[in-house]
Structures are given as C-alpha cells and as structure tokens.
C-alpha cells in the first residue's frame, strides 16, 4: 500500500509519467478494492490537486463498500473537496471511475436528504469532465435531478443554455432532456421546454421507453400552452416505434388536445374534471390547469384579429368568462406579459387593441438580425464539417460500397466492394 502511495506521489508530475501511473493503478485496482476499509488514512497523504488520478482510484475503492451514517457526511466533504480541487486532465484519463464516484456522491446526498449540498460540486464536476461545452456526460442528468429536487432551477439554466451535439450514452440524453424540460417548465420558458421534450420524443430509439412516454405527455401539454395547438402526427424523422405507439400509451392526453382544439372551454374543463385522477397520478395536474387557462389567452388573442375595440362585457361573453372584472384581469395580465398590445379604458369599460408597435427600424433589431445570421452561419458550417467527416467514415463507406449498383463497368471508382475493418 505504502509503495503505491509513494509511486503516486512520484509519478504525478508529467503527462507521460501519469500514463505509466495509470497502468500501475489499473493493475493494483483489485488489491485496492480488497483493502477498502484500510484506505481512508492513506487519503490524507495524497494531495488531490496534484495527485488527482491516484486520489481518484483510492477514493473510488473507499466508497465502493457500504457506508455508515457517520462516515457518510465526512465522505461527502472529502468528495466535494476533491471535486473542486482535482486536475481535469488527469480525471479525464479515468472517466468511468470519476463518474462512479460522483454518482455515489449523489446517492449519499439524497440519502441525507440535502440535495442542495450536491448542486455546486456536481456543476464543477461536469465542467471538469466535459471535453467541450457540446459534450453530454453521464453526470448531466444527475446534476439536473439534484437541481429539481432542491428546487434551485436557475443554476440549471446555465447548463441548459448550451447546445448539445455529442452524446456518450443515449439514455443520458433522454433523462437530461426530460429533466431539462421539467426545469424549463418550472421557469416558464416554454419554448426551451418544447425543444428539449421534442428531442426526447423524436430521438432514434428501437423500442419505446418509459422516459419517452412521460416526456410525450408533457410535450403535448407544453405544446398546447405555447402554440395553442398540438400536431397530431409526430414528424417523419421520429422513430417508427414512437410514431406508432406513443399516442396509444398517452390516450387521455391526446383526447385533451383534441378537446382543446374544439375551442370550447366548458367541454375542456369537464374533461379535465373527469380524468383528474389520471393526470394527478402522472404529476401533471398543474400543467393541465395551465393548459386550460392558456385557452382563455388563445381566445382573447383571436379577438385581437377581428376587433379594434371591444367592451369588457363582450370579451367576457365571447371568451366564456364569468364577469367583465375577470375579463379585465385576464387582459391586464396578458398586456403585462407582452402577449397582446392593448389599452383598457376603465371609464367606458372598453379595450382598445393596438398593432404590434415593433417597426423593425431600430439598431437593436439590426443587431438581433445580424447575430442571428452569424449564428446560422456557424451552425451551417458545423453541418458541412459533419457531412465531410461522415463521408470519410470507414463504416459508412463500407455500407455504401456494399449497396452500390454494379451495372455499369464504365462506372469504375475506387470504393471497394467489400471493406473489412
């Protein structure tokens, strides 16, 4: 044991040393696990900021076995300190171990029922493990779970803002998008939520999984709130399993959507009342209620298309509200949220609908358009790069070569018929 410690301390200097250290550690892994109870004092001899790799192996072996209550909080402190001070390059050599340690950390935090303690360390952990900001690690969903449970949504937003293009494990993506969707709903950023949930629902999957089903239910509701309609068919690029089965598995929600599209609030409310238990058991009742109230908004918005001025009494009648006072409250809320442009004249009880005052002539607008163009150009470039990469990929060439037509002898080119890797 002591020999190992000295080796760690000695070989943690340069990059090549670290590589040889890694081999040593891999060989010694089993013996470490065997003596896991004896290891904690050795941890004090190692410095996490210099000997991160060694420390990681020791830590992983330590936490492998069952942990008692008193040990738990001290472990939490050790791990948290480790995460904040470790060196990213050394960690990335043994990502599985690191992920393992962090997951155990999360479990402990949840056991102690203090998810808030885990949020910040997890965030640092993600940043250190990520190869680039577009990379999704296994820690992302864990982090979001902690945020959800501890209700600190704002911290999660910084992670959600980044675009993800590289994924290690599809399952991580599903969970990440699902939790991300829930957080966005909590922050009332429905557009972002729709994006994330859409990713889950249309991701390629050979069989429909439970995460996709739950995500689909929320997707329908958020779609109703944000767009006022729900497209009855998933886009063509969704997997065939999803297209066939998701709707059957979420029947009450699909019916809710069709009842919404009929435009009658009374029917919608009766339907919700009738199926309250189902919605409640899915923890979606709050969202359903939001969807119902969004219908009033939708109807009032439709009125702005037809009328220039309308009395509050008329609005109440047409939108099936109970009184002009309620109508006034709704209109006021919508004006504040920027969903319609109007002025209320309380003396006459009249509402005057105005046009969108945006003239598209200001400097801010020009900047916005410009940045939009820049962003699109970057994305486009990325697409081209990926396309080129793909066309050089040996797997792709093998498949394309195999399926090539072989009718024309003049059509000779260098792609081999069979390409063994």
């Amino acid at each position: 044991m002591e020999a190992l410690v000295t080796q760690i301390q000695g070989l943690s200097g340069t990059a090549s040393d670290v590589l040889s250290l890694q081999n040593l550690l891999k060989q010694a892994d089993d013996s470490l696990h065997a003596e896991s109870t004896r290891l904690p004092p050795f941890l004090d001899q190692l410095d996490p900021s210099k000997h991160s790799l060694g420390y990681l192996y020791f830590l992983e072996a330590c936490t492998a076995g069952p942990v008692t209550q008193e040990q738990a909080s001290s472990f939490l402190l050790t791990i948290a300190r480790f995460i904040s001070s470790c060196v990213a390059e050394q960690i990335r050599l043994a990502p599985d171990k690191f992920i393992c340690v962090c997951k155990r950390f999360k479990d402990q935090v949840l056991l102690l029922e203090e998810p808030l303690r885990g949020v910040a360390p997890m965030l640092t952990a993600i940043r250190k493990l990520q190869l680039s900001s577009e990379h999704l690690t296994a820690l992302h969903p864990e982090f979001l779970l902690l945020c959800l449970l501890s209700k600190c949504y704002k911290t999660a937003l910084s992670i959600l803002e980044e675009d993800i293009f590289e994924v290690d494990q599809p399952r991580d993506l599903f969970l990440f998008c699902y939790y991300g969707g829930m957080i966005s709903i909590g922050q009332k950023q429905f557009r972002k939520a729709l994006e994330l949930l859409h990713n889950v629902v249309t991701a390629p999957m050979s069989t429909v999984n439970a995460i996709a089903v739950e995500a689909f239910k929320k997707y329908i509701l958020v779609s109703l709130i944000h767009h006022g309609q729900f497209p009855t068919n998933l886009p063509k690029y969704a997997s065939s399993g999803a297209q066939r089965n998701l709707k059957n598995l979420c029947q009450p929600y699909v019916e809710l959507a069709s009842s919404y599209s009929n435009g009658k609030i009374a029917d919608l409310e009766t339907y919700v009342e009738a199926n309250k238990d189902k919605f409640e058991s899915d923890n979606n009742l709050g969202l359903v209620k939001q969807a119902v109230s969004s219908m009033y908004k939708r109807n009032i918005q439709r009125l702005t298309q037809t009328y220039l001025t309308l009395s509050l009494q008329d609005i109440a009648n047409r939108v099936q509200l109970n009184s002009p006072k309620e109508a006034e409250m709704h209109v006021l809320q919508m004006i504040k949220d920027g969903e319609i442009y109007a002025t209320i004249n309380q003396k006459d009880g009249m509402v005057r609908f105005l046009e969108d005052p945006e003239q598209y002539k200001t400097c801010e607008m020009i900047e916005r358009i410009d940045s939009s163009i820049q962003r699109l150009m970057t994305v486009s470039k990325k697409l081209n790069v990926m396309d080129e990469l793909m066309s050089c990929d040996p797997l792709y060439l093998a498949k394309a070569g195999r399926e090539r037509q072989r009718f024309d002898f003049d059509d000779f080119d260098n792609v081999p018929q069979r390409y063994n890797i």
Partner: protein, 452 residues
C-alpha cells in the same frame, strides 16, 4: 279551381312582356303554349296548375307529389294530388297511382278513390304488351337485324319507363348501345338514358352520358345541345358544383323553348342559372356571362323577379335584392332539384353581398350598413365577425363606435417577422438534426462493434 284570382294581375304584366299571345280566359291545364309566358316562379304563392303546365310526363307527376308532400297549405296539397291523379289516369304507372291514392286518403271524394278495376286492367294490358315485345325482340335477335333489335330494346325501355320500372328501363336503353349505327341513334340513346337517370336521381350517369353524347363526330343541332347542357347543369347542381352548374345553364341556347318539358322548364333554367351564378361568380364574370348575355336574356324575361334580383345585386341595391330572394324562397323550396341547395346558395349570396359592400371603403358605418341590409347592428356584427375570421374581409371592427375599418397588412413588418421566424426554425432544425445524427452514429457504432 283554386288560386286563379291571384294570377290575374300577372296576366296584364305578361302582356307587357309580349312573348306570346294571351288568352284572356282563365287558364285551363290543357293548353300549355299561353302559359309559357306567365311568370310562374315569382314571389306570389305558387299557382300549381300553371306550374304543372310547364312540364310533361313523369316529372310532372313527381313534382306535383313533391309539392303536395312539402307544402303546408292543405288546399294546395289536395289540388296537387288531384292533378297528379288525373295525370296518372292518362298513363300506365299503377304503382305511382297506388301511392297517390294513399296520399289522397279519400279526402277528395268518390271520384278520386282507389280504382282497382282500372289498375287491374292496366296491369293486364301491360303483361300482354310485355309478352308481345319479348317475342318480337326474340324474333329480331334471331334475324340479327341491328336496327330492329335496337328499336326492340328501345320499345322495351319506353315500356318500362311508362310503368315506372326505372332500373329496367335504364338497362334496356343502355343495351341499345351495341346496336347503334349512326350518331343520331347514339344521341337518342344518351337522351333516354339521361332522362331515366334524372328521374332515378343518379346524376353520375347523367354526366357520363352527356359527355358521351357531346363526343359524337357530327355537329349537334341546337335543341339537342341545349338539352344536354341543361342536363349537365342539373348534374353539377346536384353535386354542389355551383360554378360549373351556373356556366352550363348560362350556355343553354334560347332554342330550348319547351322542348325539354319532360325534365326542365325554361323558367327553371333561368332561376337555377342566376342563383348559382350569384353565389359563385365574381363581378366580371357576372357582368359578362349573365347581364350582357343576349341569349340568356330570353330566359330572364320569363322570370322578371329573378332579372330584377340580379340587376339589383350588380348595382349594389342589396336590400331589394335580398328582399326578392326572400320572396322567392318559399316557392323554391317546392322545387325538386333546388330545394336542398336553397339555404347554401342563399348564404353564399348574402356573404358575397356583404363582402362586396365593404370592399371599396376604408371605413364603414355599421349602422348604415345594417340599414342597407335590413338587419340589426348586432346581427350584422356577428356576420361580419365570422367573415373576418374566415379571412374573406380584411378589416377590423370598432365595437365601441360601431365602425368597420379596412385593414391592409403591413408587408414590410410581416416580412421581417417571417425572416426572423425562418431563421429560428432553421437553427432549431439543424441543431436537432445534428443531435439525432450523433445518436444514430453512436447506435450504429455500438451495433457494429458488437458484431465484430
């Protein structure tokens, strides 16, 4: 005879029209020539005798039965049924006779009750005739003389038609097709088939036989082409293609006269044509094809109310136009071809009137508009709202001051909005696509590595 006195003032009017010589004596149902010029389809209560006088054959009986079924006035009902009975006695259709007798239900006295003896006699004669026809046809068939076989089947068709077996009649007429040698034969076959199809209500056949008849290499004489156009118009009307129906009716030449009285009267051509045109044509087409149409003017003269109607619409006197329409409605509901299209056509005409009214203005006072259309401001507001929601009027309603303001979309702003939106959509699509591609690649790699 009921209903005579109402029609007397119309007789003077008809003199002014001067289409045909008028007999001052009260009209009897036998002479049809003088009745042709009477404005039958008018706002007045329908004069059944005059109406029935326009038609002949089976359609006359059917129309009378239809009127009796659908009208509220018992006197008119009984009148219609009585005339149907008389007409049926002259023919050989015992089944329809039994129906009419049942409807009369002994309300018209002993003269109009079930005449079983007559029925039996007619049926016996029918059987005899049928046997005779069959044997003749068989003889012709063995002799293989095309013309005789054709005439044999034709006679069969006529026989079945007279007895009300429409399906058999149709089959017999269609059989003559194989033995037709000249285009005249083909046209005769087509016309008979069309007649039976109209009576049966199968208008798909009508369309196909009309096109068949029009495809003959010889030029058609004007009466036949007029008949075919009427039939085509009726078929389009039934399938709710009002624009096509209007075009067909407006192309009917004035030579039609009364020659197609077993299907349609010239008054009907005028009415159907004008209503369908009003509901579906735009202003230019309306002016070119209806108002400036010299041929059609002859038909319009027969129904002066309809003529006034269309002139009012074109010159924007909507109140009187809609008033004429309202008056005509009760009589139109008694017509077998148009009764289930009246509501739709009226709605379309009304919407067109509203749209046309608001089209030239920047702002319209809704009170004045309500006066022009003889409706209340609240009702008008509802109608306008539905038209605006359907995007047929580009305007907005100022409900406080009751003014309608035209609204022209701001193209520049709309373009900017669309540009920004397209950019966002593109961005989103590409990003999700890259993500999905990555997932697929991962899955494929996984599968490939598992294989190896």
């Amino acid at each position: 005879m009921d209903g005579e006195d109402i029609s007397n003032p119309l007789m003077e009017e008809m003199c002014a029209n001067g289409i045909a010589a008028v007999d001052d004596a009260p009209s009897s149902s036998t002479s049809t020539t003088e009745l042709k010029s009477r404005p039958i389809i008018s706002g007045e209560q329908l004069d059944i005798e005059a109406y029935a006088g326009l038609y002949s054959g089976r359609t006359k009986i059917r129309r009378l039965i239809f009127i009796a079924d659908h009208c509220d006035n018992t006197a008119m009902q009984l009148e219609g049924l009585r005339m149907a009975y008389d007409e049926l006695k002259k023919g050989e259709n015992t089944q329809l006779f039994r129906e009419v007798v049942q409807k009369i239900d002994d309300r018209l006295g002993l003269n109009y009750s079930m005449d079983a003896a007559w029925c039996a006699m007619v049926d016996r004669k029918a059987d005899q005739r049928k046997d005779k026809l069959e044997s003749e046809l068989n003889a012709y068939r063995t002799n293989l003389i095309k013309e005789s076989i054709r005439m044999g089947y034709n006679d069969f068709g006529d026989f079945y038609y007279a007895h009300g077996a429409l399906g058999d009649a149709f089959k017999s007429y269609v059989r003559t097709r194989d033995y037709c040698t000249t285009s005249k034969h083909i046209i005769q076959m087509c016309l008979s088939a069309i007649l039976v199809s109209i009576e049966m209500g199968q208008f798909t056949h009508v369309t196909s036989y009309v096109s068949k008849a029009e495809q003959t290499p010889e030029a058609l004489d004007p009466i036949t082409s007029a008949k075919l156009r009427c039939a085509a118009g009726l078929a389009h009307l039934e399938s709710k293609k009002y624009k096509l129906a209007a075009r067909k009716f407006l192309e009917v030449g004035p030579e039609l006269g009364n020659s197609y009285s077993e299907v349609i009267a010239p008054q009907d051509v005028a009415t159907y044509g004008v209503l369908c045109a009003l509901a579906s044509f735009d202003r230019t087409e309306l002016k070119n094809k209806v108002i400036d149409n010299i041929n059609f003017r002859n038909f319009l003269e027969l129904v002066p109310e309809v003529r006034e109607l269309i002139n009012d619409f074109y010159s924007s006197h909507y109140a009187s136009c809609l008033e004429y329409l309202g008056n005509l409605k009760s009589n139109l509901m008694l017509d077998i071809h148009i009764h289930d299209h009246v509501e739709t056509l009226y709605d379309q005409i009304r919407s067109k009137a509203l749209i046309q009214y608001t089209h030239p203005f920047v702002s319209v006072d809704m009170r004045m508009m309500a006066d022009a259309f003889k409706t209340s401001v609240a009702g008008l507001e509802k109608e306008l709202e539905s038209l605006i929601t359907d995007n047929q009027i580009q305007a907005r309603i100022d409900s406080h001051n009751k003014i309608l303001y035209a609204r022209h979309a701001d193209q520049r702003n709309a373009t900017f909005q669309r540009v920004l939106q397209t950019g966002n959509e593109f961005d989103w699509d590409v990003r999700t696509m890259l993500l999905r591609a990555n997932l697929l690649k991962h899955e494929y790699n996984l599968r490939a590595s598992r294989k190896i």
